[in-house]
Symmetry: D2
Subunit: 299 residues, 4 copies
């Protein structure tokens, strides 16, 4: 299949590589030249603009940092028209960026007016999942588009969910990550409280994991150093999912709560903890480093 | 084995019954006569006081509502001496009540001074687990006592954990339940936010369960009515683990945080939500009914 | 002075009336015809559009519900050009609406490009202050514009503050109202805690007012019914500053916190309390009714 | 009048000195010999035990760190009988310590059984107020005792409030200090948010002080360095009311909330902020230093 891939950052680069490896004909574009070179080495073709990459494509995949970039790409910005107005065919468009649902809905609606099908398909699984091809895609858009996108997404990921109509992929992703921030800070808080009261963190982790405290953080991502050998916590909180990215996703959760007038006391608490943690210089650490916030003052 | 069982409430009655059914010789005592009758029917012997029940026992098991009752029983109170001073042998003492760790440590220390072994062994699993004999016991005390207690506890439960020294069972139980309150309110919050933004609660539950939002509440105790057939949420939040009991456990978490000068922002948030929810008349509902707090104002 | 006044809602109507009463020549416009009639009766002239009202004006004052309306008015929207492009002179523009600082800065910048001076001048004091002419104006913009605006603002208010450059009026207003929500909910919480522990709310109010707990809510707006005769609390929480409006302002505070990556744990807590309180059907009550949230379950 | 004064810490020393200066015959006791010497120099007599100090006294004043000390003094502890059982007359007892209301009520009740009148009379105003004789006393106990105590208290303070029956002084003091912690952290949060968005902290302080954000912190204790010359903030947060003491009082507020099943979301938030701030090494700074928590990451 001929696929245009736009946005070759830490996530986009391995995702596009997996599409190449799956046998697709991939044409890539990014503003950073070196990123393009990496993909050419991997077997992709390059283009000098998003519009050029999209020429003749059956599918367009984009992976960009924020809503402003996605809107700029598809709807246009000061110095250039939007890609939606520069297409020569009717490719299926899949945006894998994590952005506000209302931004996703705006692009989807504009695409629909031009007879195009646009899916929001944010991912979870991080850089590790992107490299291993084990990402989870959470997709918003119509059923037909979803079925068409599925084989493409399965070349980059393991699980592909259909969350609902346009924007629903973003909503589900943001809800999930808000809950994740609550699980992680709650788990770190429970471990710190137990240790301050004499427990061994590994013993307490094991007990809670097998009891009603069981959750993703305890199962595969324990935040206490040394409890789980392969977790970022045991590697000085390097790698993984950055505090800065969690903070960004919690910002999207707040926006969503504002627009829908939802009370989010647990998510707000987690957001403020993560922002405070980032302000204290930890933005580039893995998000399980919130454990350190709870251990301030230890020798 | 000859076992004295003191405290025949909603939990103690089925627990003592399971000991009878396992072939032990059980002598029971409770202040409520009808509770004693139930156990006699089940095959236990009765006593007219805790001291009488304990006479000649190899093991004493107690299951009482709060720390004041446990201290009253073992250390004595105004009108009666403590059981620790009324024993004719050296039975192993197992207290399965959920109380403050410092209360547990005080009784354990006093027992130790009299050459007695005392374990704190709070349970999780609720009335359902007590009846089915599938409770989880989280035990604090020395290794020898733990090994001696294990077969007795296994007649009443499925999992038996050794959390550490005296008091550690209470610490671990309280940490777990604080985390549980965070998982449940966080899950309810994420579901409410998603639904307000157009998602189907069952679809969102499935996505988060299989993603990094996965946790005990989503796996076996979904708080949204109708998503999980056998959960209390699908039965008008009847039965299960009462809001009032979760509130009590969160009070113990606060006490522990006060004594150890621990910051517990997530647990505090959950505690205040549950207290508010109880104040609005929901204390006798299952604790997953916190979902309703997030749905106020829906038609 | 010839003044155009755009936006005749609950606040705009008495504000424009006070300008008429101060002897200014006021030309008004609103989408609601009946509002225009009220002002004509009071002595104003009417116009059939904002542009017509602004013709020949030395000063334009606008008082609109939200940022979208302010941007629509001055920058234009789908079906009409912005007022900034339809002016025949160089009137001073004063927008008294409470909107996001970035929206205010955008309009100010666009005005500046056209050689116009635009001030953001949100008010506090509510409908009562608007009628009595005792509003507080908090102004953002350059010094020259501020000095020029002062006499006009003093016809509608008692205090006029210069907070800083464009947008600073909005920032200061939003910070103040976030703090106000914290004072009010904190005061209500302290009173409820004291009363639950046996104190008389009037006695406790007096003690705290004269101690380090002293604050605006205790001084002039006591939230406990009966303590302060003229406060909304003593009139079933009717009138005053609505929960819905406080909720709106707390939303602006969240937006500001998101954009500046600020942790706002106290303001977030207050925002979630107010949103919850509104969801329970109290949006149209005075914001001191948060006291009721703390009294749930009382007979 | 003959007055026994027990407890010569940072607060007790200047308080007893003021009683001496007012012409009373003061007999002091403390476990620290050097503290006694200071008072002897000031003109007091010394005693070698609390019981000896109390011999023949018309009034007993105590000023101790915590409830355990107060109960130990009056009700006795392991190695000594309580003072209530060692008195030769019927002195009025005034305890100025800040302790849990239930502890105060227990001592008051025991005193009453012995025909003695006991008042709880916690103070606000800090070491500065103690030295200047401008403390505020918040008194719990019966009317007759209150009237009898008033002239003695007025020798040490400026304001004397009668909050209600036994324990009410503690309840009111704790409510006030919980509210104070909310005012201070809320004010620091609003200032930090304003400054991050371009405002001058002095200008914003002035605006909020004169608007509905006005509160004790803005009026006399501004937390931003340099805004108020004589505030601890302008002296590196030295002196004043220590973070560790505010944390202790917030712990008493939590205890009270637990016992009365009160939701305290704002006070809990403040408590966790202060505990976190203390854990990061700031326990010995003035409590307005919470401003630094909000400024983490600034150059």
């Amino acid at each position: 299949m001929k696929i245009a891939f736009i946005g070759l950052g830490n996530m986009g680069t391995p995702m596009a590589t997996n599409l190449v490896n799956a046998g697709h004909q991939v044409v890539v574009f990014d503003l950073v030249e070196s990123a393009i070179q990496t993909l050419k080495t991997a077997g992709a073709q390059s283009a000098s603009s998003a519009a050029e990459a999209a020429r003749g494509a059956e599918v367009i995949v984009s992976m960009l940092p924020a809503g402003a970039h996605v809107k700029g790409l598809y709807l246009g910005q000061e110095n250039q028209p939007g890609l939606l107005d520069a297409l020569d065919g009717k490719p299926l468009i899949i945006d894998a960026s994590t952005i506000a649902p209302e931004d996703a809905r705006l692009v989807a609606e504009t695409a629909r007016e031009r007879g195009l099908s646009y899916l929001d398909a944010p991912v979870s699984g991080g850089v590790g999942g992107a490299k291993a091809g084990t990402l989870t895609f959470i997709v918003g858009g119509d059923e037909a588009g979803f079925e068409q996108a599925k084989p493409v997404l399965e070349a980059m990921g393991k699980n592909v969910f259909h969350a609902g109509e346009s924007g629903a992929g973003q909503v589900a992703k943001i809800c999930n990550n808000m809950l994740l921030s609550i699980l992680m800070s709650g788990t770190a808080e429970a471990l710190a409280l137990g240790v301050k009261n004499g427990l061994d963190p590994a013993v307490l982790s094991e007990i809670m994991k097998q009891s009603s405290g069981g959750n993703w953080a305890l199962n595969v991502y324990n935040p206490w150093p040394g409890v789980m050998e392969n977790a970022p916590a045991s590697n000085d909180y390097q790698g993984g999912f950055l505090v800065d990215l969690m903070t960004k996703d919690l910002g999207l959760a707040w926006q969503m709560a504002l627009e829908s007038k939802a009370a989010v006391p647990m998510g707000s608490q987690a957001r403020n903890l993560y922002v405070q943690h980032a302000a204290q210089g930890n933005g580039r650490l893995d998000f399980s480093s919130i454990q350190r916030f709870y251990r301030a003052g230890e020798e």
